[in-house]
């Protein structure tokens, strides 16, 4: 997948997200998820967060859309960086193992 194809896929995700967000605000924005509803049924409220995050998902369509786009881009960059790093570390480890094995084989012969 080249840079253009990645860009196209991300644009496609953002377009689907922007349409899905309309449905979210029409049908579900005022409804808690399963855990939140269970907490509500039991009369338990959320505690004070120990960490204040810099962003939130937003209360209206424009802010939620902006938060979503920011999140999509952060997730893409962070995932690319992390998996690339893991693949590089794994590759260099494998080549080191092969070098040691080769040296051993040369020594034995």
């Amino acid at each position: 997948m080249n840079a253009r194809q990645i860009g196209m896929k991300i644009v496609w995700i953002i377009v689907v997200f922007s349409i899905g967000l309309v449905g979210f605000f029409i049908f579900s924005a005022d409804k808690g998820d399963g855990l939140e509803k269970t907490m509500e049924d039991a009369g338990v409220s959320e505690g004070e967060p120990v960490y204040q995050a810099p962003l939130s998902y937003g209360e209206d369509y424009p802010s939620a859309f902006a938060a979503g786009v920011i999140g999509i881009i952060i997730t893409l960059i962070f995932s690319l960086g992390l998996t690339y790093l893991l693949a590089r570390v794994g590759k260099s480890k494998k080549s080191k193992v092969r070098d040691v094995k080769g040296e051993k084989d040369n020594g034995a012969s």
Binding site: M1, I6, I10, I13, I14, V16, F17, G20, L21, G23, F24, F27, S28, A29, K31, G32, D33, G34, L35, E36, K37, T38, M39, D41, A42, V44, E46, G47, P49, V50, Y51, Q52, A53, P54, L55, S56, Y57, A64, A67, G68, I70, G71, I72, I73, I74, T75, L76, F78, S79, L80, L82, T83, Y84, L86, A87, V89, G90, K91, K93, K94
Partner: protein, 234 residues
Amino acid sequence: MHIPDGLMAPELLVFGWVIAILGLGFAVRAVKSKLPEKQIVVMAVVSAGIFAAQMLNFPVMGGTSGHLVGAALASIIFGPAAAIVMISTILIIQCFVFGDGGLTALGLNILNMALIGSIVGYYSYSIIAGKHEGNNKFVFDTKGRAAIFAGTWLATFISALLCALELSISNLISPSYGIAWQISIPMMAIYHVLIAIGEGIITLGIIEYISRVSPDMLKVEKIELWKRRGEVEC
């Protein structure tokens, strides 16, 4: 299903962190040794898509809503080890950037959604589909589709039951934490029976769609947590 701060007993939070670090470490080890470079970009794009999908709650009966967790989806496509890394990455971003899920509860959130969701999703799918030999074959017959739906349903439902159990144990440790089991277990079970159906339908739809527009994406190597019998490391 993102657990906030202050809900669970401290003992449970510590337990969650320990299991999450161990599980994530195990998954990272597997990914590091088996991840093909050509798969990196595809995994990142799917992770971004799962992040977006997690923001889109769908309505469920009883005045509640649910959203895709994506662990079963990621594990069926990429294998459980890769899925654990992907979903944990999303949970970490949601916690640190958007304050979704408490920082102290991040370990439990990784345990419930990333670890249990991925492991239950992948292995129940594999068992039902009967795909023990072919590592990267998707068969879109009735059994294959049923396996995707059932694996996803089980992953979501068991993750939710585990969360309910954690709420109950927290409440038993101290009544100021968690929710009594008489409420938490039946309520979480009832809501997530329905939410898991939504997750199953969405996951099946996404995999069907990918199989039509980009079938190569489904032929990637599945990164498992451990070697299967007879598998030789190259």
